[in-house]
């Protein structure tokens, strides 16, 4: 694999995992506009574990995921007290506070950033990405996934049907934190350096857009969204600024023509029917 291709595949893998981290919360009906905060926690957690405490690569990644998950779990309780716009703003504020703490902490390198001595190969990122994809598809096919869908579609009805809303929502926040943490850890290890400026509000916005534009109804959505918005700009090799302009136009157009995201349950059903007539898929 050439260096250029390896770079693109790694970024694609990291973005897909990150998008799934936001997707698992969105799939149970919460918009998380603080993705960059969770990714930063994973990246810095991994950097500290690997460089300061000298843990091995895999242990550092697992610890980073655990920290991301634990913080997702803890922050879910206060954040779930808020709803709608307030939740979007609370998660946004959370990410800003995380960035603020990092920038003010000497231990975490402040505005300068932290170097890592360890490194992961692109193959490891591919393996992790495939595992995450399989895991999320499996999760969405279980009863838990069904409960998440129910909470997403209608909280009161889900509650009446015996779904423990709060448990589902807290779990999806914790899981989302862990996945975003994993993507952060892989980012840190792949680039060998973390700096807080990378984990800004724009990153949170972008990853949420990958998920919403891909579609939150099925686990195909974020995979499609993250791949589309990582690979297409790469293919459109024009000025950096024009890329983002086109990205903006695409977003507006998609919201007009396919407001539920590109990949919807209906579209998938039709596709399966065409590929294998006579069968029905969820």
């Amino acid at each position: 694999m050439s260096g250029y291709l390896a770079g693109i595949v790694s970024i694609l893998g990291i973005n897909v995992i990150f998008a799934y981290g936001i997707y698992v919360t969105a799939a149970s009906g919460q918009l998380n506009l603080g993705g960059a905060g969770f990714q930063a926690i994973g990246a810095y957690g991994c950097a500290i574990m690997s460089s300061v405490y000298g843990f091995s690569v895999w242990t550092s990644i697992l610890i980073a995921m655990a920290i991301g998950g634990a913080i997702g779990f803890v922050i879910a309780f206060p954040i779930l007290r808020t709803r709608g716009v307030y939740m979007v703003l609370a998660t946004f504020a959370f990410a800003e506070v995380v960035a603020g703490i990092i920038i003010n902490s000497e231990f975490l390198g402040g505005a300068v950033g932290l170097p890592l001595s360890d490194y992961v190969e692109v193959n490891a990122i591919i393996a992790a990405t495939l595992l995450v994809i399989l895991f999320v598809f499996y999760l969405m096919s279980t009863r838990v996934g069904l409960a998440m869908r129910a909470v997403h579609d209608d909280e009161s009805v889900a509650d009446l049907m015996g779904v423990n809303n709060r448990a589902i929502q807290v779990m999806s926040f914790a899981l989302g934190g862990a996945l975003a943490g994993l993507s952060g850890a892989l980012y840190a290890l792949y680039f060998g350096f973390v700096e807080v400026q990378y984990f800004n509000a724009l990153l949170s916005i972008f990853v949420l857009l990958y998920v919403l534009i891909g579609g939150t109804q099925t686990a195909w959505g974020p995979l499609f969204g993250a791949s589309f918005f990582t690979l297409v700009p790469e293919a459109l090799r024009i000025g950096e600024d024009w890329r983002f302009f086109i990205f903006g136009v695409l977003i507006v157009a998609m919201m007009i023509f396919r407001p539920e995201g590109i990949v919807t349950r209906d579209a998938l059903d039709r596709l399966w029917l065409r590929l294998a007539p006579g069968t029905r898929h969820g």
Partner: protein, 305 residues
């Protein structure tokens, strides 16, 4: 004395946030729509104003314009852009699909417009900050050892005046009544003869006007514009809006001033990098303890996304 000066600076800085925070609170209070294009509307007024004052009208139609007509055209551009946003985002709010994420549609497309406008300006003028020259760059007023910048005082007065006018418009005029009826219940408003489709653009015109004016005042006060000038002010204004309470015009004023004060005081006591923690930490704590803000209604913004 230094502390008093800081408090004063904080209030004057808050004056800039007030206009933008009121724009946010208006769209969220009336349309339940968190409009992310507001920061770029603010930036557009400043950047268009700067561009006209340096290059004149496009296609060589005129020589460089003076600062006042430039900024006036900049404000008009912000209003035009805001109407464009209305056409392509809010019109699609009432999606026919029964999906819980439908309410996120205008939010997401406004993020799209944020990218469109910001990168259009970047393509046209690059990412550098530009100096905006006005005749009264350092007009200061010295009272008892305090330095008071006169343009800043004037702009604080102008933003408060506009907001007071807006408040009157909302409570006293026919349009205001139609707007408040729409805010309460769009369907009932339609039944009572309010043409919702014609009243909604009014909100966007007001949004464009408030943001454009704030952007123009920013350019005059700080003598500097950049494609990124809206990002910081926009996020601080969101914080101010939430602190004041979503949908409350006077709350947005109080919130904007509180954020300005928090910012300068935390720089004074803890250094420049502490702002991010103090402002957003304050917001996070407030959201968790008193989500409706200082003056807000409990019901606004709770609709599911």
């Amino acid at each position: 004395m230094l502390l008093v000066q800081q408090v004063l600076n904080g209030l004057l800085l808050g004056g800039i946030y007030v206009g933008v925070a009121v724009a946010f609170t208006l769209t969220i209070g009336i349309l339940n729509f968190l409009n992310f294009t507001i920061p770029v509307l603010f930036m557009l007024a400043g950047m268009v104003g700067w561009s006209l004052s340096v290059y004149g009208l496009p296609f060589g139609l005129s020589d460089p314009l003076g600062w006042a007509p430039s900024l006036a055209i900049g404000i008009l551009c912000a209003i035009g852009a805001s109407l464009l946003v209305e056409r392509f985002t809010y019109r699609y709010f009432k999606a026919k699909h029964g999906d819980a994420t439908e309410h996120a549609i205008p939010l997401v497309s406004s993020l799209g417009f944020l990218l469109i406008f910001e990168y259009l300006v970047l393509i046209a003028h690059g990412s550098d900050s530009q100096a905006f020259r006005t005749p009264f760059a350092d007009l200061n007023w010295r009272v008892a050892g305090l330095i008071i910048s006169i343009p800043q005082v004037i702009s604080l007065a102008v933003s408060l005046g506009i907001v007071a006018g807006l408040s009157l418009l909302l409570t006293r005029s026919r349009i205001g009544r139609a707007l408040r009826a729409t805010a309460e219940n769009p369907d009932a408003a339609t039944l009572m003869g309010v043409e919702v489709n014609r009243i909604v653009p009014v909100v966007f015109v007001l949004t464009g006007l408030l943001c454009g004016l704030a952007g123009a005042l920013f350019a005059v006060n700080y003598g500097e514009v950049s494609p990124y000038m809206g990002d910081n002010v926009g996020t601080k204004a969101i914080a101010g809006m939430v602190i004041g309470g979503l949908g409350s015009v006077w709350g947005a004023i109080a919130g904007g001033l509180i954020v300005g004060l928090t910012e300068t005081l935390s720089i004074h006591f803890f250094g420049a990098t502490s702002v991010q923690i103090s402002v957003w930490g304050l917001l996070l704590v407030l959201l968790l303890l008193r989500p409706q803000g200082l003056f807000g209604h409990n019901a606004i913004g709770k609709g599911k996304f």
